[in-house]
């Protein structure tokens, strides 16, 4: 039965009327038009659908929307605002500033097809919130062993992701390259 639920997504309150069992992924994509998270395996085996829930990665393809009411949901569309909030950027700066993780993904030319990269960036943001200077092994661990399942990239961009995480870490520490 469709029920009215209020979600907190990318810093804004959103009201949706949906079956409470609907996977969060479908609500984000079809109701809220946040299409950054992607439909991958549908069984929490790949990470394409990952978002942050109160700062921690979840797999939206298996998470019923009823379970996330009242919690902060962040998709890649909300990463610039997250960064602006953390750095207390002015309104004008926040509109033109990407999250350092996104900027590093562009600067390191990470995406090939790009389908998995929304989930990859979510994991990177979570990692860098806890570890400002991760080693290559720590990055590999964060994308392989820490999440609900390893984040998979079929194009094979893992080396580029490692480069980009380290570049983003440097930027977030305020160090010049």
């Amino acid at each position: 039965m469709a029920t009215e639920l209020t979600l907190s997504v990318n810093g804004a309150k959103q009201t949706v009327t949906v079956d409470p069992d609907t996977p969060l992924l479908f609500v984000l994509r079809n109701e809220l038009k946040l299409t950054g998270p992607k439909m991958g395996c549908g069984m929490a085996q790949c990470g394409a659908c990952a978002v942050l829930l109160d700062g921690k990665e979840i797999r939206t393809c298996i998470t019923p929307v009823s379970g996330v009411a009242g919690k902060q949901i962040t998709t890649i569309e909300g990463l610039p605002a997250l960064w602006a909030q953390e750095k207390s950027l002015s309104a004008s700066d926040s509109e033109t500033t990407l999250h350092p993780v996104q900027q590093a993904w562009i600067d390191e030319q990470v995406p090939q097809c790009g389908y998995c990269q929304s989930g990859m960036m979510i994991t990177a943001v979570q990692l860098l919130s806890k570890n400002p200077n991760p080693s290559v092994d720590q990055i590999k661990d964060a994308f392989t062993n820490t999440p609900p399942s390893p984040h998979l990239c079929r194009c094979g961009t893992y080396a580029a992701i490692i480069d980009a995480v380290q570049r983003a870490a440097q930027a977030m520490r305020g160090e010049a390259r």
């Binding site: 949906v18 079956d19 069992d21 609907t22 996977p23 479908f26 994509r29 079809n30 946040l34 299409t35 950054g36 992607k38 439909m39 991958g40 395996c41 549908g42 069984m43 085996q45 790949c46 394409a48 998709t75 890649i76 569309e77 610039p80 990407l98 996104q102 993904w105 562009i106 030319q109 990470v110 995406p111 090939q112 097809c113 790009g114 389908y115 998995c116 990269q117 929304s118 960036m121 990055i139 590999k140 661990d141 994308f143 392989t144 062993n145 399942s149 390893p150 984040h151 998979l152 990239c153 079929r154 194009c155 094979g156 961009t157 893992y158 080396a159 580029a160 992701i161 490692i162």
Partner: protein
């Protein structure tokens, strides 16, 4: 637009420029085909805001009065960087900054050329010539405007200077509607059941003639790491992907697939309308689906329909553990293709004092994108069909959908959008969800979006077939190869039939089963060689649903044949007691091979000695290390792979510690993009070498999720070292996809170096490696 068409035409090197009229605002030079091609009707084109002249074919290039440039191509970004190197190539010939170029890709009603998205070399040559013709035309216009001879003009960043005067490209076209027609050959594909893949040709349109082009020594943009334009919007979430298409009244569909690969429908399950009030079952022959305006309802209702649907029993597969036996059992007659000298090779093998032989093999593997197939189709009551797709062959898909629905090609519009990489499976415009969507939209009378699930994709999409290769070589007294014969046997990999059409019993233009010799021969000192490729139909190809439909996959043909050839060269080197790199150098005079091998060997700190290593061991719990090498030549690009690995004999676990990959593709267009493609290719190759195999029982595929079809994770990735050699004197080569093919032979050689055990089958799983070590 005001004014009349100016009939005056000027010919420049076979291209014709004319003024079609004057315009109040703006102005542009449109570069289009000199062949009449039928495109969308005027009414359809009128809805298309980017097409300024609706009666013309979509232009290839537009030089606009605001100094921006629009480039259009039917080829698409498949994840290897076309959105970077196409603007680079065009910018180079036009002398403009690549940032001024906007690329429009893939839509059949607004791009002129068609062709394979994987066709890097042909596509690249096309856009380069288009830009070169345009440059000559712009010089001519500038010469007239400035009153300065062409020979005195030079162009930087789109500003023409000469005789103390200057004018921008934008000013040259200001207020005018100019048209440049350039000479082309070829046509866009039409259905042709007698054609190679059921089409007239999928090559698209090729630019002819030889306009003057820049010498590599003068390149300013080619050779720099210009960023691929598709990336920023993908990173911020702004890209509209093919899975994001929403149309008014659109229904979401989930397919209910047959119980086995060969089952036919007995009775379709029904929907409990109380539970799923807006869901409906749609059926055509064995094509069964549930549609709903709500995606979650479609998912749930499809599950309940699947639970109550009855299918016939079927078993006709050999089981994946018997796949080699099944291929061997086929009644082979003659090769589909042979290369080399048959009589001389046979004679040399007959008279040889020393012969070696070996058999290499691999099971089925698959493309396995992270995003399963998705498509939207809108079949209108007036007969116009629009398909939103991520296929790598928009024009081929267009013709195929027309054939399936029995309508003229002109009635079908294909709109291309980004999606998960396809790695070759959509190359012939066949595999995908588009036919499902078209059939369902026709049944529903509404737009339908079909989203496959991962288990469905891993069970029903096309596969890269298993194969067996028999290798024989004659060695002289010094161990040098004097003759080599290879024979590869495999189900074919060019099945373009869309699953939805097969299941719905609708017409499918098919291909002829066959194999081909993919290797490009790097060993010119081996004069007597014969390479045979045999092809057979799909396994279980005579079943109702087509069996295991084969399609090409990243670095097709060479990926497989090079594992056999380079593995065998390593065996011959070992038989001769020679270092594997020195042995290769002794069999070629090709300086490109020699230079790259030496550079990669140095980068990898290669120690010159024969394999196996003196410390090689087959038992114990301590890791033993080894290294191995292979080379490849493909599409004017030269490749080297050097694997360093360790293996624990007691467990059979093989771990790659470092992989050095070298490439010399003639002139490197974009070093960073090539670096990305080389490293990612190695990751895909490691995945295939270590982990991948499609498993199936007698009736269905059983590896249907990421736990049963395993691919490499980041944690399993070794250090990857890249060696690039760019040279100005060999043109351009294909560098974007081939690195994956280097991993399996190099890794098998590293295992041999560590243990003295030769692995001749992929993947190199702990179970397989253990069985070799215990044998």
């Amino acid at each position: 637009m005001i004014g009349k068409t100016d009939e005056r035409e000027t010919s420049v090197l076979g291209a014709t420029i004319s003024r079609r009229g004057f315009v109040k605002t703006g102005g542009a030079l449109f570069v289009s085909l000199a062949l009449p091609l039928r495109f969308a009707t005027r009414a359809e084109a009128a809805e298309n805001p980017t097409s300024i002249d609706p009666t013309s074919p979509a232009s290839w290039l537009e030089i606009r009065s605001d100094n921006t440039i629009v480039a259009r191509t039917g080829r698409t970004e498949t994840g290897v960087g076309i959105t970077g190197y196409y603007p680079q190539t065009i910018a180079e010939e036009l002398n403009v900054r690549p940032e001024t170029i906007t690329l429009i890709m893939g839509d059949t009603d607004r791009t002129p050329d068609g062709g394979y998205s994987a066709g890097f070399l042909s596509g690249m040559t096309n856009v380069r010539k288009v830009a070169a013709y345009t440059y000559q035309a712009l010089l001519g216009l500038a010469s007239t405007q400035l009153g300065v001879p062409v020979s005195s003009l030079s162009v930087t960043d789109g500003i023409v200077t000469g005789g103390g005067k200057k004018i921008t490209y934008g000013e040259l076209v200001q207020g005018q509607h100019l048209e440049l027609k350039i000479p082309v050959e070829g046509t866009l594909p039409k259905p042709d059941p007698a054609g190679e893949v059921g089409m007239t040709s999928l090559d698209g349109v090729t630019v002819t003639g030889n306009p003057p082009m820049k010498a590599p020594k003068d390149f300013k943009v080619i050779g720099t790491s210009f960023p691929a334009g598709h990336i920023p919007d993908k990173v911020t979430g702004k890209t509209r992907w093919s899975c994001d298409v929403v149309l008014p009244g659109m229904l979401h569909a989930r397919m209910v697939r047959p119980a086995t690969l060969g089952s036919t429908l007995v009775s379709a399950g029904t929907i409990d309308k109380k539970q799923f009030p807006t869901a409906e079952v749609l059926r055509k022959a064995n094509l069964l689906a549930v549609v709903s305006p709500n995606e979650w309802e479609a998912v749930q209702a499809a599950q309940s329909v699947a639970d109550t649907t009855k299918w016939t029993d079927w078993s006709g597969l050999p089981g994946s553990e018997n796949v080699t036996k099944a291929i061997r059992a086929h009644k082979w007659v003659r090769p589909s293709e042979s290369k080399g000298k048959a009589a001389e090779t046979e004679a040399a093998l007959q008279s040889a004092t020393k012969k070696i032989s070996a058999t290499y093999e691999q099971g089925y593997v698959r493309h396995a994108p992270i995003g399963p197939f998705v498509a939207v189709a809108d079949v209108k009551s007036d007969g116009i069909v629009t398909v939103w797709t991520h296929s790598a062959q928009s024009q081929g898909l267009r013709a195929r959908i027309a054939y399936v629905l029995g309508i003229p090609v002109e009635k079908v519009v294909v709109r291309w959008m980004d999606h998960s990489g396809q790695y070759g499976r959509t190359t012939f415009g066949g595999d995908g969800a588009e036919a499902d969507a078209a059939v369902l939209s026709q049944l529903a009378g509404k737009p339908v979006r079909v989203q496959w699930t991962l288990p469905e994709d891993l069970a029903w999409s096309s596969v890269s077939p298993a194969w067996v290769s028999d290798m024989t070589a004659a060695l002289d007294a010094k161990g040098q190869i004097v003759a080599l014969h290879s024979a590869q046997y495999a189900p074919h990999m060019e099945d373009p039939r869309p699953l939805g059409a097969l299941l719905a019993g609708m017409p499918c233009a098919a291909s002829k089963p066959g194999g081909w010799v993919a290797t490009e021969w790097p060993y010119d000192k081996i004069v007597n060689r014969l390479e045979d490729a045999y092809g057979m139909p799909n396994l279980a190809g005579d079943s109702a649903n087509g069996g295991l439909r084969g399609n090409i996959m990243r670095t097709p043909g060479q990926r497989q044949q090079n594992f056999a050839l380079e593995g065998f060269i390593n065996e011959a080197a070992a038989a001769a007691g020679a270092d594997p790199i020195e042995y290769r150098l002794a069999h070629t005079t090709d300086q490109r091979v020699i230079n790259l091998l030496r550079a990669a060997a140095e980068a990898a700190n290669w120690e010159t000695r024969p394999s196996p290593h003196g410390r090689a061991l087959r038992s114990g719990t301590a890791p033993i290390t080894g290294r191995g090498v292979c080379i490849m030549v493909r599409s004017n690009a030269y490749w080297v792979g050097i694997a360093e690995a360790s293996v624990v004999p007691s467990t059979g676990v093989l771990k790659v510690t470092k992989f050095t990959v070298g490439c010399e593709p003639g002139k490197i267009i974009n070093p960073r993009q090539l670096d990305r493609c080389m490293k990612s290719g190695v990751v895909m190759g490691l995945s295939e070498a270590l982990k991948e195999e499609v498993t199936f029982d007698k009736s269905k595929v059983t590896s249907t999720n990421w736990n049963s079809y395993k691919i490499l994770t980041m944690g399993e990735m070794p250090e990857i070292k890249v060696v690039q050699i760019s040279r100005d004197d060999k043109g351009f080569g294909g560098g974007s996809e081939a690195a994956n093919a280097l991993v399996p032979p190099a890794l098998a050689a590293a295992l041999f170096d560590a243990t003295g055990v030769r692995a001749r089958r992929l993947p190199l799983t702990p179970t397989y490696v253990s069985s070799l070590l215990k044998a």
